[in-house]
């Protein structure tokens, strides 16, 4: 027991030292060159092959091995500079084209209907969308049907502002974008916005009265909006936006969804009710490619593909172990 605690303390100390080194000593970001990245991938592949061979020989690997590989598969690609070839799917291109068609100065309504757990998938989309809009001098009106949505929007906006080409544009709050904040009421918020935005958002996220915001002062309802984009992780989300804003008020709507939600939206996409759809990290990465930047989506996508391959590999290894075990057992019984 004592012995155990001693070891644990040593490990904790090691982690603390590492954290201090990484936090204060190494201040530059680390990136693996393509060469190093390829070597790492090959090494991981070889290790998997080794595990496969060992399994066939009868040695079983526990769950910690799987955990380790999942962890490695998720973390290492974050540092890599390689990116997988990304094929633009039509629904992503459709969204990109729809935004390109808007004239500078057009007003775009972006609704943030998600919370932090879905941020890995949706935040990259938000950042790329903001980037594209600001780059093309479109005006952005932010709102949220989920309580934590507007906060996510602030984070995305902050990240985009740090991009040199956007920073050069001197984007101003209140003129180039506003954040109207969160409003309770789910789809009824959308419905009432059809009559009046003002009735739902008396003041913005920071408490400034609606009529003191130059960008929205003259924006009454959906007819003053040129395009809207919805980032959704469930209810209320894209389905409600389609049913109310698109079907009743004829709003042009693009959507970004989590991978779990996306399949439901394809029906609306085919019916033309949604102009373009980004589904999960795939969609985020493709959108970044369409816009021509390399952002979190592209980076996270590599991690995701990697971890999928790991899962598939372990399913195969698991089955190999099972079948060989079976054969061995049969031999013994003969």
């Amino acid at each position: 027991m004592r012995q155990n605690l001693k070891w644990e303390l040593l490990v904790y100390l090691g982690i603390l030292i590492l954290a201090i080194i990484f936090y204060w000593v190494i201040t530059e970001p680390i990136t693996f060159s393509p060469m190093v990245s390829v070597i790492i991938v090959v090494l991981i592949g070889l290790t998997l092959l080794y595990i496969f061979v060992m399994t066939i020989r009868g040695q079983l690997f526990g769950r910690r091995t799987v955990f380790l590989f999942v962890g490695v598969a998720v973390v290492l690609p974050l540092f890599m500079t390689i990116s997988q070839t990304i094929k633009l799917s039509p629904e992503v291109k459709e969204l990109h084209d729809a935004v390109l068609e808007l004239k500078p100065g057009s007003k775009v309504l972006v609704s943030f209907d998600y919370d932090p757990p879905s941020a890995p998938e949706l935040q990259p989309m938000a950042e790329t969308f903001f980037y594209l809009c600001l780059k093309r001098d479109l005006k952005i009106i932010i709102m949220g049907l989920w309580p934590q949505g507007p906060q996510q929007a602030e984070m995305a906006m902050q990240a985009v502002m740090e991009q040199p080409d956007i920073a050069a544009k001197n984007v101003q709050y209140g003129i180039d974008y506003v954040n109207l904040g969160f409003q309770t009421g789910n789809e009824f918020v959308i419905q009432r916005m059809g009559t009046s935005f003002r009735s739902m958002f008396n003041s913005d996220y920071y408490g400034t009265p609606y009529d003191s915001l130059p960008l929205v002062r003259n924006t009454n309802n959906f007819s003053n909006i040129d395009f809207s984009f919805n980032l959704s992780a469930g209810y209320p989300g894209t389905v409600e936006w389609v049913q109310v804003a698109v079907d009743r008020y004829g709003v042009k709507l693009g959507a970004g969804n989590t991978a779990v939600q996306a399949p439901q939206i394809y029906a609306y996409l085919r019916a033309g009710q949604v102009k373009g759809l980004l589904g999960g990290l795939n969609g985020a990465a493709e959108f970044e490619k369409a816009v021509g930047i390399i952002g979190k989506g592209t980076k996270f996508m590599v991690s995701q593909s990697f971890s999928h391959v790991i899962v598939i590999a372990f399913i195969i290894i698991g089955n190999a172990a099972f079948f060989l075990g079976e054969r061995r057992r049969n031999k013994e019984s003969l």
């Binding site: 936090y23 998720v74 974050l78 989590t258 999928h308 899962v311």
Partner: protein
């Protein structure tokens, strides 16, 4: 200030992840903090939203006296703390169970049974070109038949009062296969989305906290 938040976040993130290797004091600290803080959090949210926002405001400001019924039941619930009052705490419970039974009965009945039955009533063929043809495409018709047969077989699997033998047993067996396909599909589907959660946490550690990622 922001720094404190980052370090706390990182400390607890790593503490929880350390559980994957084995139970250890770091995880125990994270777990204990989580339990205490979250219990307090929901108590406070419920206190301000329900006790104050609904009961107090409802009764004293909006004169909505019917809410007092809820209050009385709530107090009855607490009477179990008295040595002799335990029996009366069954009343609010009986009220909850009655209301839930009544509500769920109608709700599940209309939204699950009726809606599902209704949406399975699809045509096997259609009459697009003046003569009976498979609807839209062969694949669609096969799909429709698959949905119908699968639903039937699945329901047969759930039959309790008939032994799974003979033809009936065969159908039940097919039913459990269909259900297994359903489970396999949703499992495979979920693997994808779970990975992105971990990616998010790892980005927090290496990107936001240690700032090692560009």
């Amino acid at each position: 200030m922001e720094e404190i938040g980052l370090w706390l976040g990182a400390f607890f993130t790593l503490g929880i992840i350390s559980f994957l290797y084995k139970d250890n004091p770091w995880y125990k600290i994270s777990e204990s903090v989580f339990v205490g803080v979250s219990a307090g959090y929901w108590f406070i949210v419920s206190f301000w939203d329900n006790l104050y926002g609904k009961l107090f405001v409802g009764v004293f400001e909006n004169q909505d006296y019917i809410l007092l019924v809820g209050g009385v039941f709530g107090v009855m619930m607490l009477l179990r703390l008295l040595p002799k009052g335990g029996w009366i705490s069954r009343w609010p419970l009986a009220f909850i169970v009655g209301a839930i039974s009544g509500f769920y009965l109608m709700n599940y009945f209309s939204s699950n049974v009726m809606k599902q039955v209704y949406s399975t009533m699809l045509p096997l063929f259609s009459n697009e070109f003046g003569e009976p043809v498979f609807s839209a495409s062969v694949a669609d018709s096969v799909g429709t038949i698959m949905v119908a047969v699968g639903t039937f077989a699945g329901l047969i699997y759930f039959f309790f009062s008939k032994e799974h033998k003979g033809v009936f047993g065969g159908a039940a067996k097919f039913g459990i296969w269909v259900i297994m396909v359903t489970f396999g599909a949703s499992f495979g589907y979920t693997v994808m989305s779970r990975m992105s959660l971990l990616i998010g946490r790892m980005y927090f550690i290496f990107g936001e906290w240690l700032k090692l990622i560009e």
